[in-house]
Symmetry: C2
Subunit: 311 residues, 2 copies
């Protein structure tokens, strides 16, 4: 089960009733934060999911409305008693940015591991005790995609694989000794009494995991459909609700609701959650038809929106 | 007339119901901001005094809760259409800090003039059209005082001189030609028809101006009493309300309400306005007696507090 909350749903500037676009994921009690504009830590305080358990911070791009909350948040995490390292993933340039932010902060009681513009998925094993990077396996995999914005920007997808069912009858018929069932169930190949056993000897068919994808800020480029394919939830920027603002969207490298909905349709996702609304758009709800006409299962995000994704 | 508002009254971390300690002054429609923690721009948006007219930013010290709002605020001012320079005054180290912040921001459409740890008062002439630094005169003077905190920290005092009354009878009895009354009234010496006229030939006695002083974060050192002497309003940190927290105040280089009140008394100020409350103190009002027993004219500040100082 993966829980998530929208900490803010605005673009450009933090407003009294709409903070800057940021999402927090809660998996096994550990947290993954996506983007951190000014005020994100205030929204986190309202949410009450805690600061100390943030293990991973994913930054989409180095624009103020997505990073200016980092100095304060990293300091507050430091004051929470955390000493374990935090992994920060971000686009080209993130290392220099974090270096600059650390110079402003002065001192942190934990290390930061920076992964700049990763080309391959990163696997983490996350348990209630903490998170660590794994070479393979792990129980959550984070992939990125280069997007098209006015500065290097990456999208994120999070995948929690689901183990196939353990089939006692299959194990028995394959004459797999009971002593090694558990290890095979965990995906290991096992040599036992001079014979090699493989997981497929005890497991059923592959099962769909949980996929969540996130793209902001960007134009709706072709590669996104594949990247978000079959996501249970696709969180996407919808800077402009009105179709009349298409020219602005093109100029500022953003999207309209219609464009986001078309992506959701091409990506064959279950649900689309719109966020990152222009400060000029007081009430995004009035434009919902522009999305639902194309992709009916669209939700207009709002600060404090909470959701749960299950297998 | 000088208007002011408390944008936040907290120390340490921005809270949902109490933003970080920051004050904005409004003189002739132009703004002076003192300190800028994360979220200050959100409070400014609630106040609706505008962003474009901020001419001067005074920073007390380089701790996150007093500066982490600068990247966002400077960007938002840039988006407001401002092209005129902004003067930033701050303690030792402020130039490097601003350099670091500018590297994070990337681009601003206006210049920043940095004045690091000034030793003498700085005079500004402020009108509805804007502000500029003057060698002498001007209509507002900003003085600083080195305080005692865990990092270099300065206090600020703002003085708006009041012109003496223009006395028609005095001008007539001194046989001052009408043509030069206005220039003398503005404080100029005037040579007119081979004779020198001085302002005292038309003006009455000196009159008290408006003095506002501000000290946070600091221990209550001796030099403060002189610095704040006869202020109409003395805004001072009151990190701890409870007298029992004196040891914490000493250790963390802050003040209790009682200590701030004693300063206000020694400084012979008209009113004391307390701010910069510890996040651990939910309701500072319950400790007001610890201040009013020593200095009755004490106000417990709150976010959105507005005041007006007149001659």
């Amino acid at each position: 089960m993966l829980n998530l909350a929208l900490l803010g749903t605005g673009g450009g500037m933090p407003m009294p009733d709409r903070f800057l676009s940021s999402v927090i994921l809660n998996y096994q009690g550990r947290k993954i934060l996506i983007d951190c504009g000014e005020g994100t830590q205030v929204s986190m305080r309202i949410l009450k999911w805690g600061f100390k358990s943030i293990d991973i911070i994913c930054i989409t791009h180095i624009h103020g409305d997505h990073i200016f909350g980092l100095p304060g948040l990293l300091s507050t995490i430091g004051n929470s008693g955390r000493v374990e390292p935090i992994t920060i993933i971000g686009p080209k340039g993130i290392s220099d940015t974090i270096k600059g932010i650390l110079a402003l902060i002065g001192y942190l009681p934990y290390n930061l591991y920076i992964i700049e513009n990763p080309k391959l998925p990163i696997n983490f094993s996350i348990s209630s005790k903490g998170s660590k990077i794994e070479n393979s396996n792990g129980n959550i995999s984070i992939s990125t995609l280069e997007l098209e914005h006015s500065t290097p920007c990456i999208g994120y997808s999070f995948y929690i694989p689901r183990k196939p069912k353990f089939l006692i009858e299959k194990a028995k018929s394959n004459k797999v000794p009971k002593e090694i069932w558990h290890r095979l169930q965990n995906g290991e190949n096992v040599n036992y009494k001079r014979k090699t056993y493989t997981p497929d000897m005890v497991l059923g068919e592959k099962r769909k995991g949980i996929k969540l994808s996130f793209t902001t800020d960007t134009r709706p480029i072709d590669t996104i459909a594949d990247f978000i394919n079959k996501s249970a939830l696709f969180i996407c920027e919808g800077t402009y609700g009105d179709n009349e603002d298409l020219e602005k969207a093109i100029k500022n490298k953003h999207m309209t609701f219609s464009e986001a909905a078309s992506l959701a349709k091409s990506g064959d996702v279950d649900r689309l959650l719109l966020t990152h609304f222009s400060p000029a758009m007081d009430n995004p709800e009035i434009y919902i038809k522009n999305a639902t006409n194309i992709f009916p299962n669209t939700i207009i995000g709002y600060d404090g929106f909470i959701d749960e994704l299950s297998f």
